[in-house]
């Protein structure tokens, strides 16, 4: 079995990208969407998540470690490709390149984002209100807002297109028709989830977001 190591590595990379990393991304953006209903709704959801039992274990084994594996092995995959969209400008070949570009971009973004939020929570023992305030204040800066929009679009694209190739790599969508339908389905998912994420960012960026918190 030792000769099939790269097969197992690739399959684990593919699986972890969906469960739990992709699942966590969806949950995360879903929770953030509560920000559009006001700061108190968002803080309530965050407190709900923070009260989960074994939270640290969940974070380590269902977020950090899978993310690290997917990210580091993904870098290896991204940098072993020799992109050739110059000679083969087909839709799928562009998706292949974008999957690698957005993967690297998402990894950089996520490292910064974790530093900016989760690490700060751990370092300064922030409450969910303080975290919401920190987020709101930072995305009111147009540069940081732009970084968040780009990071979000990269992450959602990488997830959506990654789901398309996950279905191929596990032999679920086999024929060209199934793969074409899958392209449309994940295209719609990309648009919808991006809309969800960007509306949350706009909600955070509202100048009265913190004032709502004061009332809370």
């Amino acid at each position: 079995m030792s000769t099939q190591r790269s097969f197992f590595n690739r399959r684990i990379h593919s699986l972890l990208g969906v469960i739990p990393v992709g699942f966590f991304l969806m949950e995360h953006l879903f929770t953030n969407y509560y920000a559009t209903r006001g700061a108190s709704a968002f803080v309530e959801k965050v407190d709900g998540l923070w009260s989960l039992p074994f939270l640290v274990v969940l974070e380590i084994f269902f977020i950090i470690l899978p993310l690290l594996y997917h990210g580091i092995y993904g870098l290896y995959i991204a940098f072993t490709a020799k992109n050739n969209t110059g000679n083969f400008g087909t839709f799928r070949n562009w998706m292949f390149v974008l999957q690698r570009v957005t993967g690297v971009a998402t990894l950089i973004f996520v490292i910064w984002h974790v530093w900016q939020t989760r690490v700060q929570v751990a370092l300064y023992d922030l409450s969910s209100e303080q975290l919401a305030q920190l987020m709101s204040e930072s995305v009111q800066n147009p540069v940081i807002f732009a970084v968040y929009v780009i990071g979000l679009l990269c992450a959602v694209f990488h997830f959506s297109n990654g789901m398309w190739s996950f279905l191929v790599s596990w032999g679920i969508t086999v024929g060209p028709r199934a793969q074409r339908v899958s392209t449309w389905v994940w295209g719609i998912v990309f648009l919808f989830v991006s809309y969800m994420g960007i509306s949350s960012l706009f909600a955070f960026a509202q100048s009265d977001f913190i004032q709502q918190l004061a009332q809370y």
Partner: protein
């Protein structure tokens, strides 16, 4: 024709396996209905480059001249394809010709495709029926199966799918899309299916099926229109089943 027309060829050449590649340009007299092979034959007849220097004639390989042997594969205007079926009249000039340098270049446009034949040996792309006694007639196959296998059987190991694939390069050990099609070909044969696990296992070795990154260039580039991406996804399905079956039964 009062004015003589020329065909402008820009050829990437290399004098030997370890030599540096260089570019030579040729202007050869135009004739109707030429293909790249006949253009190269013209250079062979009069090996003078566009600067008027006498050079060694450009070396290439070709056999069948009807796009079934795969020997004359080269990169023509950026696309890997067979020189015999690349018609000069339908190509933009100057025509840029390069060897498929995914493979080791032997000289000029001649490449060494041994890695493909080694890959076929690795996955046991044959049906072991040799024996000392008569095995009787083989089993019948359905028409659907026959059509699928016919598509796959048209592979001529030309190397175009390797040249087109972004995951076949000096940094990766991917054996190439073609080998997946060949595993499907022999695994769907009723007699060949007796060794299907053996072939599938070999296909999952280092540099195998898993190295596919779904750019789907292979199926676009394949001169025979072989449904390579379908073969890959089918093999992925079989590999998934195999993975769980093996994990749960050992």
């Amino acid at each position: 024709m009062s004015e003589q027309q020329f065909i402008h060829l820009v050829i990437t050449r290399q004098d030997g396996p370890d030599q540096k590649p260089y570019v030579d340009e040729f202007k050869i007299p135009y004739r109707k209905n030429m293909n790249i092979i006949s253009a190269l034959m013209e250079i062979q007849r009069n090996p003078v480059n566009s600067k008027g220097e006498k050079v060694a004639p450009v070396q290439w390989e070709s056999n069948c001249l009807e796009e079934v042997c795969g020997a004359c594969s080269m990169v023509i205007n950026g696309k890997p394809r067979q020189a015999c079926s690349a018609l000069v009249d339908s190509l933009e000039q100057p025509i840029r010709i390069q060897p498929m340098n995914t493979f080791p270049v032997i000289r000029d446009l001649i490449v060494d495709r041994s890695r493909m034949f080694n890959a076929l040996k690795h996955v046991k792309a044959w049906i072991p029926i040799d024996g000392t006694h008569d095995l009787g007639p083989g089993p019948r196959i359905s028409e659907n199966e026959r059509q699928w296998r016919y598509e796959l059987s048209r592979c001529m190991t030309c190397g175009v799918c390797l040249e087109a694939c972004p995951n076949v390069n000096e940094k990766s050990n991917f054996k190439g899309p073609f080998v997946v099609g060949q595993v499907q070909l022999f695994n769907t044969h009723p007699t060949g299916a007796m060794n299907r696990e053996e072939r599938l296992e070999a296909l999952l070795d280092e540099g195998g099926l898993q190295e596919c990154g779904n750019s789907q260039n292979c199926v676009q580039a394949c001169p025979k229109g072989i449904p390579l991406t379908t073969a890959i996804a089918k093999s992925n399905r079989e590999a998934t089943k195999h993975l769980f079956k093996k994990w749960l039964s050992v």
